[in-house]
Each structure stands twice: as structure tokens, then as C-alpha cells.
């Protein structure tokens, strides 16, 4: 089973993949409306907003969690070297 290179989500069914395309390495939540993968900045901002919305954390703390999360994912490896 593939996991999304940009957020780590398991991708099992076709609807999990960006643009319903199982050849993609990233998921529907990490894609822009045109199917391309979000940029580092977009992903960080979206993850931060999501953490604030779902867990109510302070924005700076949420941003740190988002960045730590991205640090471990293959899509963003080069941004942390």
C-alpha cells in the first residue's frame, strides 16, 4: 500500500489519490485543484490551519508541529537540509 509522500496518509482506494490517479505518489488532500502537488509553503500553511481548526492549538505551536511533521516526509526532505 502506498502512503502519500507529502503528508503520510495511507492511500488505499483510488479516491485517496490526487486526481483519482493511482500512479501519483501524493494524496487528494495534498493536491491543488488542478491535480498538481501543493508547494512546501502551501502545504505548511494548510497543515497549520488544519491543526488549529481540529485541535485548537496556538498558531505558532501548530506551525511547529506542521513543520516537524513535514521534516519526516520524503516530499519535503530537501527543504530541511
Amino acid at each position: 500500500m502506498k502512503t502519500c509522500i507529502a503528508c503520510g496518509m495511507p492511500m488505499e482506494s483510488i479516491s485517496d489519490f490526487a486526481a483519482n490517479d493511482p500512479s501519483k505518489d501524493y494524496c487528494v488532500h495534498c493536491a491543488r485543484p488542478d491535480g498538481e502537488m501543493q508547494s512546501f509553503e502551501e502545504k505548511k500553511e494548510n497543515l497549520t490551519k488544519f491543526i488549529v481548526k481540529t485541535q485548537g492549538f496556538d498558531e505558532r505551536a501548530a506551525g511547529k508541529i506542521a513543520e516537524d511533521m513535514m521534516r519526516k516526509l520524503p516530499a519535503w526532505k530537501n527543504y530541511f537540509n
Binding site: P10, F50, T54, Q55, G56, I65, D68, M69
Partner: protein, 196 residues
């Protein structure tokens, strides 16, 4: 590709260390020295460092395994169900299965190294992700009150954590809390958030 006997042995030693560390940390907390884990696992102290150069590596590995397990079971369920009750039941299943470890984790979290703390934050974010996808569907259907998603999530977690952190009062020193209070926790929480 053929796997050599040496690779099999390496894999088995690593597994033995992980299983033993999981048990010892659950029983005694995360400050147990690695020498104790080595002794209990029946491996040399040096061999722990071959597999996990620092205690932090070992902790992160255990937490990631736990997080993957939690993530997988909630992911499968959240996709196919519209019922918050089913999702919370599954959340409790994973917590019940790992109750001693998870209770140690929430009680000692602030003393863990930063990387282990972040790994714990990812686990809770994964739970929050699945929780929000199901609860938003229930809010849309009108079955759950229109409250902020983070308050709905934090109220659930706060309730469950309170029982776990006070397990000696609720279930005796080593008694399982989730098994004893699952029904009451679930029905009370759902009654609080559901529209009548």
C-alpha cells in the same frame, strides 16, 4: 533476494528490543535505563545501540509503530463510516489494546525528548483528522450540535485522558480503565454533543 541468516538474526534482535522496551516502558515509565531493557530482552547492552543509537531513536520508533497502528485502523473506519460512535469505539479499541503504554505517554509526555514529543503530536493530529472528517459529516446531517470541531475533539480527549490519568481511582492500580468505562464514556459524550 535471499535473506541471510545474519539479517534474520538482526531483525529478530531488533524486534525483541522493541517488544521488550514497549513492555518495560508501559510498566515502569520512559526513564528506565537501556541497560534494563537489554537485560530483560536477553541481548547485550551494546546491541541496543547498534539498532538504536540513542534512547530517543528507540522511543520514536515505538511511538511511530503505535501511531501507524492507530492511523491505519481509524483511516479504514473513517472512510467508510458516517457514525462518530463507531469511530470513537475504534479509538477506544486501540487505546484499550495499548492502555498502559498510552497512559505512560500522556503522563510523561512533557519529559520526553523533543522528537518523541512531536511524534506524539502527529499521532493526535491523525486522530483529530479522522475525528473531524466524521464529526463534520454528522454536523452537516444535523445529528451533532454545531460546535467548533476542536472543542468537540478536545472534550472527548480530555474526558478519556482524565480517566486514564486517574486509573488508580477509577479502576484500581493496574485495572483496565477503558474496558470498565467504555460504555459510560461513550454514551455520556454522545449525549452531550448530539442534538436531541
Amino acid at each position: 533476494m535471499e535473506i541471510s541468516a545474519r539479517q534474520v538474526q538482526k531483525f529478530n534482535t531488533r524486534k525483541k528490543i522493541i517488544d521488550t522496551a514497549y513492555r518495560i516502558f508501559s510498566e515502569k515509565g520512559f526513564s528506565v535505563p537501556t541497560s534494563v531493557i537489554a537485560k530483560e530482552a536477553g541481548v547485550s547492552h551494546g546491541s541496543i545501540f547498534v539498532h538504536f543509537p540513542t534512547l530517543n531513536n528507540l522511543l520514536v520508533c515505538l511511538l511511530s509503530d503505535f501511531g501507524d497502528k492507530m492511523g491505519r485502523s481509524l483511516h479504514i473506519l473513517a472512510k467508510k463510516c458516517d457514525s462518530l460512535e463507531d469511530l470513537l469505539n475504534e479509538h477506544l479499541n486501540v487505546l484499550e489494546e495499548n492502555e498502559a503504554f498510552y497512559t505512560r505517554l500522556i503522563s510523561e509526555k512533557n519529559r520526553l525528548p523533543d522528537e518523541a514529543k512531536s511524534t506524539f503530536a502527529f499521532i493526535q493530529s491523525t486522530v483529530a483528522f479522522h475525528f473531524s472528517s466524521v464529526v463534520e459529516r454528522e454536523i452537516e446531517k444535523g445529528t451533532v450540535k454545531k460546535l467548533p470541531v476542536h472543542m468537540l475533539f478536545n472534550t472527548w480527549l480530555g474526558l478519556v485522558h482524565y480517566y486514564l490519568l486517574n486509573r488508580e481511582f477509577f479502576a484500581g492500580f493496574n485495572g483496565p480503565v477503558i474496558r470498565k468505562y467504555r460504555g459510560e464514556l461513550l454514551s455520556t459524550y454522545l449525549n452531550l454533543i448530539r442534538k436531541s
